[in-house]
Symmetry: D2
Subunit: 151 residues, 4 copies
Protein backbone atom coordinates (compact mmCIF):
# COMPACT_ATOMS: atom_id res chain seq x y z
CA UNK A 1 0.00 0.00 0.00
CA UNK A 2 2.71 2.47 0.96
CA UNK A 3 4.65 1.56 -2.18
CA UNK A 4 1.64 1.97 -4.34
CA UNK A 5 0.94 5.30 -2.72
CA UNK A 6 4.47 6.51 -3.29
CA UNK A 7 4.37 5.72 -6.99
CA UNK A 8 1.06 7.39 -7.15
CA UNK A 9 1.81 10.93 -6.13
CA UNK A 10 0.98 14.15 -7.90
CA UNK A 11 3.90 16.31 -9.04
CA UNK A 12 5.69 18.41 -6.43
CA UNK A 13 4.24 21.54 -8.02
CA UNK A 14 0.66 20.28 -7.77
CA UNK A 15 1.20 19.08 -4.21
CA UNK A 16 2.55 22.47 -3.21
CA UNK A 17 -0.33 24.29 -4.86
CA UNK A 18 -2.85 22.17 -2.97
CA UNK A 19 -1.12 22.33 0.39
CA UNK A 20 -0.91 26.11 0.12
CA UNK A 21 -4.63 26.34 -0.63
CA UNK A 22 -5.50 23.88 2.15
CA UNK A 23 -3.58 25.90 4.71
CA UNK A 24 -5.66 28.93 3.81
CA UNK A 25 -8.89 27.03 4.61
CA UNK A 26 -9.55 28.23 8.13
CA UNK A 27 -12.20 25.56 8.63
CA UNK A 28 -9.89 22.63 7.92
CA UNK A 29 -7.35 23.84 10.51
CA UNK A 30 -10.09 24.59 13.02
CA UNK A 31 -11.49 21.06 12.67
CA UNK A 32 -8.03 19.52 12.88
CA UNK A 33 -8.09 17.99 9.38
CA UNK A 34 -4.95 17.30 7.37
CA UNK A 35 -4.14 16.17 3.86
CA UNK A 36 -2.98 12.56 3.90
CA UNK A 37 -2.29 11.95 0.21
CA UNK A 38 -2.34 13.78 -3.13
CA UNK A 39 -2.44 11.66 -6.30
CA UNK A 40 -3.44 12.85 -9.77
CA UNK A 41 -7.22 12.88 -9.60
CA UNK A 42 -7.39 11.60 -6.02
CA UNK A 43 -6.93 13.30 -2.64
CA UNK A 44 -7.23 11.87 0.89
CA UNK A 45 -8.04 14.01 3.94
CA UNK A 46 -7.95 12.72 7.51
CA UNK A 47 -9.87 14.05 10.51
CA UNK A 48 -9.00 12.76 14.00
CA UNK A 49 -11.88 12.15 16.40
CA UNK A 50 -12.34 14.60 19.26
CA UNK A 51 -15.31 16.21 21.00
CA UNK A 52 -15.15 19.31 18.76
CA UNK A 53 -16.30 17.39 15.69
CA UNK A 54 -19.16 15.30 17.13
CA UNK A 55 -22.93 15.26 16.86
CA UNK A 56 -25.27 14.64 19.78
CA UNK A 57 -24.47 10.92 20.17
CA UNK A 58 -20.71 11.30 20.06
CA UNK A 59 -20.27 10.18 16.45
CA UNK A 60 -18.51 12.35 13.92
CA UNK A 61 -21.03 15.03 12.86
CA UNK A 62 -22.37 14.69 9.31
CA UNK A 63 -21.20 18.26 8.81
CA UNK A 64 -17.61 17.30 9.63
CA UNK A 65 -17.82 14.18 7.48
CA UNK A 66 -19.17 16.24 4.60
CA UNK A 67 -16.69 19.06 5.05
CA UNK A 68 -13.65 16.84 4.56
CA UNK A 69 -15.39 14.90 1.76
CA UNK A 70 -16.12 18.17 -0.05
CA UNK A 71 -12.53 19.35 0.36
CA UNK A 72 -11.11 15.98 -0.75
CA UNK A 73 -13.20 16.06 -3.93
CA UNK A 74 -12.41 19.70 -4.61
CA UNK A 75 -8.67 19.11 -4.36
CA UNK A 76 -8.88 15.89 -6.39
CA UNK A 77 -10.43 17.94 -9.21
CA UNK A 78 -7.85 20.68 -8.68
CA UNK A 79 -4.93 18.26 -9.26
CA UNK A 80 -6.05 18.04 -12.91
CA UNK A 81 -6.76 21.74 -13.50
CA UNK A 82 -4.42 24.02 -15.47
CA UNK A 83 -2.37 26.63 -13.65
CA UNK A 84 -3.97 29.96 -12.78
CA UNK A 85 -7.35 28.40 -12.23
CA UNK A 86 -9.37 27.84 -9.13
CA UNK A 87 -11.97 25.26 -8.11
CA UNK A 88 -15.49 25.82 -6.76
CA UNK A 89 -17.98 23.20 -5.61
CA UNK A 90 -21.16 23.44 -7.68
CA UNK A 91 -23.05 20.84 -5.67
CA UNK A 92 -22.70 17.52 -3.95
CA UNK A 93 -24.86 14.73 -2.61
CA UNK A 94 -23.82 12.47 0.22
CA UNK A 95 -25.35 9.38 1.82
CA UNK A 96 -24.46 8.75 5.44
CA UNK A 97 -24.33 4.95 5.49
CA UNK A 98 -23.45 4.23 9.08
CA UNK A 99 -22.57 6.12 12.26
CA UNK A 100 -19.14 7.62 11.65
CA UNK A 101 -16.97 6.27 14.43
CA UNK A 102 -13.26 5.59 14.75
CA UNK A 103 -9.95 7.03 15.85
CA UNK A 104 -10.18 9.12 12.74
CA UNK A 105 -12.20 9.34 9.55
CA UNK A 106 -10.60 9.52 6.11
CA UNK A 107 -12.25 11.14 3.09
CA UNK A 108 -11.19 10.11 -0.40
CA UNK A 109 -12.16 12.26 -3.37
CA UNK A 110 -11.68 10.64 -6.80
CA UNK A 111 -12.25 12.23 -10.20
CA UNK A 112 -14.77 10.25 -12.27
CA UNK A 113 -14.92 12.62 -15.21
CA UNK A 114 -12.72 15.60 -15.88
CA UNK A 115 -14.02 18.17 -18.35
CA UNK A 116 -12.83 21.59 -19.43
CA UNK A 117 -15.48 23.36 -17.36
CA UNK A 118 -17.02 20.73 -15.07
CA UNK A 119 -15.52 17.84 -13.13
CA UNK A 120 -17.42 15.06 -11.35
CA UNK A 121 -15.94 13.30 -8.32
CA UNK A 122 -16.83 10.32 -6.21
CA UNK A 123 -16.63 10.98 -2.47
CA UNK A 124 -16.00 8.23 0.08
CA UNK A 125 -15.49 8.54 3.81
CA UNK A 126 -14.12 5.71 5.94
CA UNK A 127 -14.15 5.28 9.69
CA UNK A 128 -10.78 3.94 10.80
CA UNK A 129 -10.11 2.20 14.12
CA UNK A 130 -6.79 0.42 14.50
CA UNK A 131 -6.36 -1.53 11.27
CA UNK A 132 -10.08 -1.64 10.49
CA UNK A 133 -11.63 0.58 7.89
CA UNK A 134 -15.31 0.79 7.05
CA UNK A 135 -17.24 2.94 4.61
CA UNK A 136 -19.39 5.44 6.54
CA UNK A 137 -20.42 7.84 3.76
CA UNK A 138 -20.46 7.94 -0.02
CA UNK A 139 -21.27 10.80 -2.32
CA UNK A 140 -21.01 12.46 -5.69
CA UNK A 141 -19.88 16.00 -6.40
CA UNK A 142 -19.81 18.47 -9.31
CA UNK A 143 -17.06 21.11 -9.47
CA UNK A 144 -16.31 24.00 -11.78
CA UNK A 145 -12.96 25.31 -12.99
CA UNK A 146 -12.78 29.11 -12.88
CA UNK A 147 -10.03 31.57 -13.68
CA UNK A 148 -8.08 32.46 -10.57
CA UNK A 149 -8.73 36.04 -9.63
CA UNK A 150 -5.71 38.31 -9.67
CA UNK A 151 -4.62 39.05 -6.13
Amino acid sequence: MEDQKRQDQASAEVQARIRTSFERQGLMGHLGARIAHIAPGRVHIVLPGRPEVTQQNGYFHAGATSAIADSAGGYAAFTLFPEDTSVLTVEYKINLLAPAVGDHIEAVGTVLKSGRTLTVCRLEVFGVRGGERSLVATGQQTLICVNARPE
Copy 2:
Protein backbone atom coordinates in the same frame (compact mmCIF):
# COMPACT_ATOMS: atom_id res chain seq x y z
CA MET B 1 -41.51 39.40 11.11
CA GLU B 2 -40.80 39.15 14.82
CA ASP B 3 -44.51 38.86 15.50
CA GLN B 4 -44.91 36.21 12.89
CA LYS B 5 -41.96 34.35 14.37
CA ARG B 6 -43.36 34.58 17.86
CA GLN B 7 -46.68 33.07 16.85
CA ASP B 8 -44.83 30.44 14.99
CA GLN B 9 -42.88 28.71 17.70
CA ALA B 10 -42.73 25.04 18.54
CA SER B 11 -43.99 24.00 21.98
CA ALA B 12 -41.72 24.63 24.96
CA GLU B 13 -41.21 20.86 25.28
CA VAL B 14 -40.07 20.48 21.66
CA GLN B 15 -37.83 23.53 21.93
CA ALA B 16 -36.19 22.16 25.05
CA ARG B 17 -35.66 18.76 23.45
CA ILE B 18 -33.95 20.35 20.47
CA ARG B 19 -31.80 22.80 22.44
CA THR B 20 -30.60 19.95 24.64
CA SER B 21 -29.63 17.89 21.63
CA PHE B 22 -27.98 20.86 19.91
CA GLU B 23 -25.85 21.57 22.95
CA ARG B 24 -24.53 18.03 22.79
CA GLN B 25 -23.33 18.57 19.20
CA GLY B 26 -19.67 19.37 19.79
CA LEU B 27 -19.26 20.54 16.21
CA MET B 28 -21.96 23.21 16.42
CA GLY B 29 -20.37 24.77 19.49
CA HIS B 30 -16.90 24.51 18.00
CA LEU B 31 -18.05 26.34 14.83
CA GLY B 32 -19.89 28.96 16.90
CA ALA B 33 -23.34 28.11 15.51
CA ARG B 34 -26.53 28.79 17.47
CA ILE B 35 -30.21 28.00 17.03
CA ALA B 36 -32.10 31.12 15.99
CA HIS B 37 -35.64 29.81 15.73
CA ILE B 38 -37.65 26.61 16.24
CA ALA B 39 -41.06 26.36 14.58
CA PRO B 40 -43.04 23.19 13.96
CA GLY B 41 -41.37 21.75 10.86
CA ARG B 42 -38.87 24.59 10.50
CA VAL B 43 -35.58 25.39 12.27
CA HIS B 44 -33.14 28.26 11.72
CA ILE B 45 -29.44 28.06 12.64
CA VAL B 46 -27.05 31.01 12.49
CA LEU B 47 -23.29 30.92 12.03
CA PRO B 48 -21.28 34.15 12.50
CA GLY B 49 -18.39 34.76 10.13
CA ARG B 50 -14.87 34.37 11.47
CA PRO B 51 -11.59 32.95 10.14
CA GLU B 52 -12.26 29.53 11.70
CA VAL B 53 -15.10 28.78 9.25
CA THR B 54 -13.59 29.94 5.95
CA GLN B 55 -12.31 28.32 2.79
CA GLN B 56 -9.20 29.47 0.92
CA ASN B 57 -10.71 32.72 -0.43
CA GLY B 58 -12.16 33.86 2.88
CA TYR B 59 -15.76 32.86 2.12
CA PHE B 60 -17.68 30.57 4.44
CA HIS B 61 -16.45 27.03 3.70
CA ALA B 62 -18.97 24.79 1.93
CA GLY B 63 -18.44 22.37 4.80
CA ALA B 64 -19.60 24.95 7.33
CA THR B 65 -22.53 25.97 5.15
CA SER B 66 -23.52 22.33 4.79
CA ALA B 67 -23.01 21.52 8.46
CA ILE B 68 -25.53 24.08 9.65
CA ALA B 69 -27.90 23.26 6.78
CA ASP B 70 -27.79 19.59 7.73
CA SER B 71 -28.44 20.38 11.41
CA ALA B 72 -31.27 22.80 10.56
CA GLY B 73 -33.01 20.15 8.45
CA GLY B 74 -32.43 17.44 11.02
CA TYR B 75 -33.96 19.49 13.81
CA ALA B 76 -36.83 20.64 11.58
CA ALA B 77 -37.71 16.97 11.07
CA PHE B 78 -37.22 16.30 14.77
CA THR B 79 -39.84 18.92 15.76
CA LEU B 80 -42.48 16.62 14.23
CA PHE B 81 -41.20 13.30 15.61
CA PRO B 82 -42.85 11.50 18.51
CA GLU B 83 -41.14 11.42 21.89
CA ASP B 84 -38.46 8.82 22.52
CA THR B 85 -37.27 8.90 18.95
CA SER B 86 -34.13 10.21 17.41
CA VAL B 87 -33.27 11.63 13.98
CA LEU B 88 -30.52 10.55 11.58
CA THR B 89 -29.62 12.11 8.24
CA VAL B 90 -29.95 9.52 5.47
CA GLU B 91 -28.56 11.76 2.75
CA TYR B 92 -28.63 15.28 1.45
CA LYS B 93 -27.77 17.18 -1.69
CA ILE B 94 -26.77 20.83 -1.71
CA ASN B 95 -26.08 23.36 -4.47
CA LEU B 96 -23.72 26.18 -3.58
CA LEU B 97 -25.25 29.02 -5.56
CA ALA B 98 -22.93 31.88 -4.75
CA PRO B 99 -19.91 32.61 -2.58
CA ALA B 100 -21.18 32.55 1.00
CA VAL B 101 -20.31 35.94 2.43
CA GLY B 102 -21.81 38.10 5.14
CA ASP B 103 -21.67 38.98 8.80
CA HIS B 104 -23.30 35.63 9.34
CA ILE B 105 -25.03 32.90 7.40
CA GLU B 106 -28.43 31.51 8.34
CA ALA B 107 -29.59 28.00 7.48
CA VAL B 108 -33.31 27.25 7.31
CA GLY B 109 -34.50 23.65 7.29
CA THR B 110 -38.16 23.14 6.33
CA VAL B 111 -40.09 19.87 6.28
CA LEU B 112 -41.57 19.19 2.84
CA LYS B 113 -42.96 15.74 3.62
CA SER B 114 -43.23 14.08 6.99
CA GLY B 115 -43.67 10.32 7.01
CA ARG B 116 -43.68 7.71 9.73
CA THR B 117 -40.21 6.49 8.80
CA LEU B 118 -38.76 9.06 6.39
CA THR B 119 -38.94 12.84 6.29
CA VAL B 120 -37.82 15.10 3.43
CA CYS B 121 -36.63 18.65 4.08
CA ARG B 122 -35.75 21.65 2.00
CA LEU B 123 -32.48 23.31 3.04
CA GLU B 124 -31.73 26.97 2.37
CA VAL B 125 -28.74 29.01 3.48
CA PHE B 126 -28.67 32.80 3.31
CA GLY B 127 -25.74 35.18 3.57
CA VAL B 128 -26.73 38.13 5.74
CA ARG B 129 -24.96 41.49 5.78
CA GLY B 130 -26.69 44.36 7.56
CA GLY B 131 -30.30 44.17 6.40
CA GLU B 132 -29.48 42.30 3.19
CA ARG B 133 -30.11 38.63 2.78
CA SER B 134 -29.24 36.53 -0.24
CA LEU B 135 -29.61 32.84 -0.95
CA VAL B 136 -26.17 31.21 -1.08
CA ALA B 137 -27.08 27.52 -0.99
CA THR B 138 -30.13 25.34 -1.48
CA GLY B 139 -30.56 21.66 -0.87
CA GLN B 140 -32.78 18.70 -0.19
CA GLN B 141 -32.40 16.17 2.59
CA THR B 142 -33.82 12.79 3.63
CA LEU B 143 -34.00 11.87 7.32
CA ILE B 144 -35.04 8.79 9.22
CA CYS B 145 -36.85 8.50 12.53
CA VAL B 146 -35.32 5.85 14.79
CA ASN B 147 -36.10 4.71 18.30
CA ALA B 148 -33.99 6.57 20.80
CA ARG B 149 -31.50 4.27 22.36
CA PRO B 150 -31.90 3.77 26.09
CA GLU B 151 -29.26 5.77 27.95
Copy 3:
Protein backbone atom coordinates in the same frame (compact mmCIF):
# COMPACT_ATOMS: atom_id res chain seq x y z
CA MET C 1 -55.37 30.93 -11.87
CA GLU C 2 -55.97 31.11 -15.59
CA ASP C 3 -55.64 34.91 -15.46
CA GLN C 4 -52.44 34.71 -13.52
CA LYS C 5 -51.11 32.15 -15.97
CA ARG C 6 -52.02 34.30 -18.96
CA GLN C 7 -50.19 37.32 -17.55
CA ASP C 8 -47.31 35.10 -16.81
CA GLN C 9 -46.29 33.79 -20.19
CA ALA C 10 -42.93 33.83 -21.86
CA SER C 11 -42.60 35.83 -25.10
CA ALA C 12 -43.96 34.27 -28.28
CA GLU C 13 -40.39 33.83 -29.52
CA VAL C 14 -39.31 31.93 -26.43
CA GLN C 15 -42.46 29.81 -26.46
CA ALA C 16 -41.86 28.89 -30.11
CA ARG C 17 -38.22 28.03 -29.45
CA ILE C 18 -39.21 25.69 -26.63
CA ARG C 19 -42.12 24.04 -28.44
CA THR C 20 -39.88 23.37 -31.43
CA SER C 21 -37.26 21.75 -29.21
CA PHE C 22 -39.86 19.76 -27.29
CA GLU C 23 -41.31 18.35 -30.50
CA ARG C 24 -37.88 17.04 -31.40
CA GLN C 25 -37.68 15.06 -28.13
CA GLY C 26 -38.76 11.64 -29.30
CA LEU C 27 -39.14 10.45 -25.71
CA MET C 28 -41.68 13.10 -24.73
CA GLY C 29 -43.92 12.24 -27.66
CA HIS C 30 -43.50 8.52 -27.05
CA LEU C 31 -44.54 8.94 -23.40
CA GLY C 32 -47.47 11.17 -24.36
CA ALA C 33 -46.20 14.24 -22.48
CA ARG C 34 -47.13 17.78 -23.50
CA ILE C 35 -46.09 21.26 -22.46
CA ALA C 36 -48.82 22.86 -20.38
CA HIS C 37 -47.33 26.28 -19.66
CA ILE C 38 -44.21 28.34 -20.42
CA ALA C 39 -43.47 31.30 -18.15
CA PRO C 40 -40.14 33.10 -17.83
CA GLY C 41 -38.15 30.79 -15.58
CA ARG C 42 -40.94 28.26 -15.13
CA VAL C 43 -42.27 25.46 -17.36
CA HIS C 44 -45.07 22.94 -16.72
CA ILE C 45 -45.23 19.55 -18.44
CA VAL C 46 -48.19 17.17 -18.15
CA LEU C 47 -48.18 13.40 -18.57
CA PRO C 48 -51.52 11.54 -18.75
CA GLY C 49 -51.74 8.19 -16.96
CA ARG C 50 -51.82 5.06 -19.11
CA PRO C 51 -50.30 1.57 -18.86
CA GLU C 52 -47.27 2.57 -20.94
CA VAL C 53 -45.87 4.81 -18.18
CA THR C 54 -46.36 2.61 -15.11
CA GLN C 55 -44.15 0.68 -12.74
CA GLN C 56 -44.98 -2.77 -11.39
CA ASN C 57 -47.79 -1.62 -9.07
CA GLY C 58 -49.57 0.51 -11.62
CA TYR C 59 -48.28 3.86 -10.35
CA PHE C 60 -46.47 6.25 -12.65
CA HIS C 61 -42.91 4.90 -13.00
CA ALA C 62 -40.22 6.97 -11.28
CA GLY C 63 -38.50 7.08 -14.65
CA ALA C 64 -41.52 8.76 -16.23
CA THR C 65 -41.90 11.14 -13.29
CA SER C 66 -38.23 12.05 -13.54
CA ALA C 67 -38.25 12.36 -17.32
CA ILE C 68 -40.89 15.08 -17.34
CA ALA C 69 -39.36 16.76 -14.28
CA ASP C 70 -35.99 16.87 -16.02
CA SER C 71 -37.53 18.31 -19.19
CA ALA C 72 -39.57 20.88 -17.25
CA GLY C 73 -36.45 22.11 -15.45
CA GLY C 74 -34.40 22.13 -18.64
CA TYR C 75 -36.93 24.23 -20.49
CA ALA C 76 -37.44 26.54 -17.49
CA ALA C 77 -33.70 27.29 -17.63
CA PHE C 78 -33.88 27.63 -21.42
CA THR C 79 -36.50 30.41 -21.19
CA LEU C 80 -33.81 32.65 -19.67
CA PHE C 81 -30.93 31.72 -22.00
CA PRO C 82 -29.72 33.98 -24.82
CA GLU C 83 -30.46 33.04 -28.43
CA ASP C 84 -28.19 30.57 -30.18
CA THR C 85 -27.57 28.61 -27.03
CA SER C 86 -28.66 25.20 -25.94
CA VAL C 87 -29.32 23.60 -22.54
CA LEU C 88 -27.89 20.39 -21.09
CA THR C 89 -28.71 18.78 -17.77
CA VAL C 90 -25.58 18.50 -15.64
CA GLU C 91 -27.26 16.53 -12.86
CA TYR C 92 -30.40 16.30 -10.82
CA LYS C 93 -31.62 14.76 -7.61
CA ILE C 94 -35.20 13.78 -6.99
CA ASN C 95 -37.10 12.48 -3.96
CA LEU C 96 -40.14 10.36 -4.68
CA LEU C 97 -42.41 11.41 -1.83
CA ALA C 98 -45.50 9.32 -2.47
CA PRO C 99 -46.83 6.85 -5.04
CA ALA C 100 -47.49 8.89 -8.18
CA VAL C 101 -51.13 8.35 -8.97
CA GLY C 102 -53.77 10.40 -10.75
CA ASP C 103 -55.41 11.09 -14.08
CA HIS C 104 -52.20 12.80 -14.97
CA ILE C 105 -49.03 14.06 -13.35
CA GLU C 106 -47.72 17.59 -13.81
CA ALA C 107 -44.06 18.55 -13.51
CA VAL C 108 -43.11 22.13 -12.71
CA GLY C 109 -39.53 23.30 -13.24
CA THR C 110 -38.66 26.66 -11.65
CA VAL C 111 -35.38 28.52 -11.91
CA LEU C 112 -33.88 29.22 -8.48
CA LYS C 113 -30.64 30.77 -9.68
CA SER C 114 -29.73 31.77 -13.19
CA GLY C 115 -26.05 32.23 -13.93
CA ARG C 116 -24.09 32.85 -17.12
CA THR C 117 -22.87 29.25 -17.25
CA LEU C 118 -24.93 27.30 -14.70
CA THR C 119 -28.58 27.43 -13.73
CA VAL C 120 -30.21 25.71 -10.75
CA CYS C 121 -33.87 24.68 -10.85
CA ARG C 122 -36.39 23.33 -8.40
CA LEU C 123 -38.37 20.38 -9.70
CA GLU C 124 -41.84 19.49 -8.42
CA VAL C 125 -44.21 16.82 -9.67
CA PHE C 126 -47.87 16.71 -8.69
CA GLY C 127 -50.37 13.90 -9.03
CA VAL C 128 -53.68 15.34 -10.23
CA ARG C 129 -57.04 13.61 -9.91
CA GLY C 130 -60.12 15.70 -10.61
CA GLY C 131 -59.51 18.95 -8.79
CA GLU C 132 -57.07 17.43 -6.30
CA ARG C 133 -53.37 17.99 -6.60
CA SER C 134 -50.71 16.48 -4.37
CA LEU C 135 -46.94 16.69 -4.42
CA VAL C 136 -45.49 13.30 -5.39
CA ALA C 137 -41.86 14.22 -6.12
CA THR C 138 -39.48 17.09 -5.47
CA GLY C 139 -36.00 17.65 -6.79
CA GLN C 140 -33.17 19.98 -7.60
CA GLN C 141 -31.32 20.23 -10.89
CA THR C 142 -28.19 21.85 -12.33
CA LEU C 143 -28.08 22.85 -16.00
CA ILE C 144 -25.43 24.30 -18.27
CA CYS C 145 -25.79 26.80 -21.10
CA VAL C 146 -23.77 25.80 -24.17
CA ASN C 147 -23.41 27.33 -27.60
CA ALA C 148 -25.87 25.82 -30.02
CA ARG C 149 -24.06 23.75 -32.59
CA PRO C 150 -24.39 24.96 -36.14
CA GLU C 151 -26.82 22.75 -38.02
Copy 4:
Protein backbone atom coordinates in the same frame (compact mmCIF):
# COMPACT_ATOMS: atom_id res chain seq x y z
CA MET D 1 -16.52 -11.99 -18.96
CA GLU D 2 -19.25 -14.43 -19.90
CA ASP D 3 -17.79 -16.99 -17.52
CA GLN D 4 -17.57 -14.46 -14.77
CA LYS D 5 -21.14 -13.45 -15.44
CA ARG D 6 -22.35 -17.03 -15.41
CA GLN D 7 -20.81 -17.70 -12.02
CA ASP D 8 -22.24 -14.50 -10.83
CA GLN D 9 -25.93 -15.02 -11.19
CA ALA D 10 -28.65 -14.63 -8.62
CA SER D 11 -30.64 -17.72 -7.68
CA ALA D 12 -33.35 -18.89 -10.09
CA GLU D 13 -35.98 -17.84 -7.55
CA VAL D 14 -34.63 -14.30 -7.29
CA GLN D 15 -34.26 -14.02 -11.05
CA ALA D 16 -37.84 -15.13 -11.56
CA ARG D 17 -39.12 -12.68 -8.94
CA ILE D 18 -37.35 -9.81 -10.69
CA ARG D 19 -38.32 -10.76 -14.22
CA THR D 20 -41.95 -11.02 -13.17
CA SER D 21 -41.85 -7.58 -11.61
CA PHE D 22 -40.01 -6.10 -14.59
CA GLU D 23 -42.61 -7.41 -17.00
CA ARG D 24 -45.27 -5.59 -15.01
CA GLN D 25 -43.43 -2.27 -15.51
CA GLY D 26 -45.35 -0.84 -18.45
CA LEU D 27 -42.73 1.86 -18.94
CA MET D 28 -39.84 -0.56 -19.41
CA GLY D 29 -41.68 -2.44 -22.15
CA HIS D 30 -42.83 0.77 -23.78
CA LEU D 31 -39.25 2.08 -23.91
CA GLY D 32 -37.97 -1.27 -25.20
CA ALA D 33 -35.71 -1.97 -22.21
CA ARG D 34 -34.77 -5.49 -21.15
CA ILE D 35 -32.93 -7.05 -18.22
CA ALA D 36 -29.48 -8.16 -19.32
CA HIS D 37 -28.11 -9.65 -16.09
CA ILE D 38 -29.17 -10.33 -12.49
CA ALA D 39 -26.43 -10.94 -9.94
CA PRO D 40 -26.79 -10.75 -6.16
CA GLY D 41 -26.65 -7.02 -5.49
CA ARG D 42 -26.18 -6.04 -9.15
CA VAL D 43 -28.59 -5.76 -12.07
CA HIS D 44 -27.95 -4.69 -15.68
CA ILE D 45 -30.66 -3.23 -17.94
CA VAL D 46 -30.17 -2.53 -21.63
CA LEU D 47 -32.02 0.01 -23.77
CA PRO D 48 -31.56 -0.05 -27.58
CA GLY D 49 -31.35 3.29 -29.36
CA ARG D 50 -34.34 4.38 -31.45
CA PRO D 51 -36.14 7.67 -32.07
CA GLU D 52 -38.68 6.98 -29.32
CA VAL D 53 -36.07 7.45 -26.56
CA THR D 54 -34.23 10.56 -27.77
CA GLN D 55 -33.96 14.19 -26.71
CA GLN D 56 -33.86 17.11 -29.15
CA ASN D 57 -30.36 16.41 -30.50
CA GLY D 58 -30.91 12.71 -31.11
CA TYR D 59 -29.04 11.49 -28.01
CA PHE D 60 -30.71 9.21 -25.51
CA HIS D 61 -32.97 11.43 -23.38
CA ALA D 62 -31.80 11.95 -19.80
CA GLY D 63 -35.22 10.68 -18.76
CA ALA D 64 -34.64 7.37 -20.54
CA THR D 65 -31.13 7.11 -19.14
CA SER D 66 -32.45 7.78 -15.66
CA ALA D 67 -35.41 5.46 -16.00
CA ILE D 68 -33.29 2.39 -16.69
CA ALA D 69 -30.71 3.48 -14.08
CA ASP D 70 -33.46 3.79 -11.48
CA SER D 71 -34.87 0.37 -12.37
CA ALA D 72 -31.41 -1.27 -12.37
CA GLY D 73 -30.71 0.08 -8.88
CA GLY D 74 -34.14 -0.86 -7.62
CA TYR D 75 -33.80 -4.45 -8.78
CA ALA D 76 -30.22 -4.67 -7.52
CA ALA D 77 -31.53 -3.81 -4.07
CA PHE D 78 -34.44 -6.21 -4.51
CA THR D 79 -32.08 -9.18 -5.12
CA LEU D 80 -31.03 -8.89 -1.46
CA PHE D 81 -34.47 -8.35 0.08
CA PRO D 82 -36.36 -11.06 1.95
CA GLU D 83 -39.39 -12.66 0.33
CA ASP D 84 -42.75 -10.92 0.62
CA THR D 85 -41.20 -7.51 0.48
CA SER D 86 -41.24 -4.85 -2.15
CA VAL D 87 -38.82 -2.08 -3.14
CA LEU D 88 -39.49 1.64 -3.52
CA THR D 89 -37.07 4.33 -4.67
CA VAL D 90 -36.70 6.98 -1.95
CA GLU D 91 -34.52 9.28 -4.05
CA TYR D 92 -31.67 9.32 -6.48
CA LYS D 93 -29.14 11.73 -7.91
CA ILE D 94 -27.60 11.34 -11.32
CA ASN D 95 -24.85 13.20 -13.20
CA LEU D 96 -25.06 13.12 -16.97
CA LEU D 97 -21.38 13.02 -17.87
CA ALA D 98 -21.51 12.98 -21.65
CA PRO D 99 -24.06 12.82 -24.46
CA ALA D 100 -25.55 9.33 -24.31
CA VAL D 101 -24.95 7.83 -27.72
CA GLY D 102 -24.52 4.28 -28.97
CA ASP D 103 -26.32 1.30 -30.40
CA HIS D 104 -27.68 0.84 -26.94
CA ILE D 105 -27.12 2.08 -23.40
CA GLU D 106 -26.62 -0.23 -20.44
CA ALA D 107 -27.47 0.70 -16.86
CA VAL D 108 -25.76 -1.10 -13.99
CA GLY D 109 -27.16 -0.81 -10.47
CA THR D 110 -24.87 -2.04 -7.69
CA VAL D 111 -25.66 -2.24 -3.97
CA LEU D 112 -23.15 -0.25 -1.92
CA LYS D 113 -24.84 -0.74 1.44
CA SER D 114 -27.68 -3.05 2.28
CA GLY D 115 -29.59 -2.33 5.47
CA ARG D 116 -32.75 -3.74 7.00
CA THR D 117 -34.81 -0.69 5.99
CA LEU D 118 -32.66 1.32 3.57
CA THR D 119 -30.33 0.28 0.77
CA VAL D 120 -27.92 2.54 -1.13
CA CYS D 121 -26.93 1.78 -4.73
CA ARG D 122 -24.45 3.10 -7.20
CA LEU D 123 -25.90 3.73 -10.65
CA GLU D 124 -23.81 3.70 -13.81
CA VAL D 125 -24.94 4.02 -17.41
CA PHE D 126 -22.70 3.18 -20.37
CA GLY D 127 -23.09 4.04 -24.03
CA VAL D 128 -22.17 1.00 -26.10
CA ARG D 129 -21.23 1.09 -29.79
CA GLY D 130 -19.71 -2.04 -31.28
CA GLY D 131 -17.14 -3.18 -28.73
CA GLU D 132 -16.71 0.28 -27.19
CA ARG D 133 -18.24 1.21 -23.91
CA SER D 134 -18.10 4.61 -22.26
CA LEU D 135 -19.58 5.92 -19.04
CA VAL D 136 -22.32 8.44 -19.83
CA ALA D 137 -24.00 8.83 -16.44
CA THR D 138 -23.29 8.03 -12.82
CA GLY D 139 -25.55 8.30 -9.83
CA GLN D 140 -26.45 7.29 -6.31
CA GLN D 141 -29.79 6.03 -5.09
CA THR D 142 -31.58 5.32 -1.81
CA LEU D 143 -34.23 2.58 -1.66
CA ILE D 144 -36.59 1.33 1.02
CA CYS D 145 -37.76 -2.19 1.73
CA VAL D 146 -41.51 -2.34 2.43
CA ASN D 147 -43.84 -5.20 3.15
CA ALA D 148 -45.48 -6.41 -0.03
CA ARG D 149 -49.14 -5.58 0.01
CA PRO D 150 -51.47 -8.52 -0.10
CA GLU D 151 -53.01 -8.78 -3.56
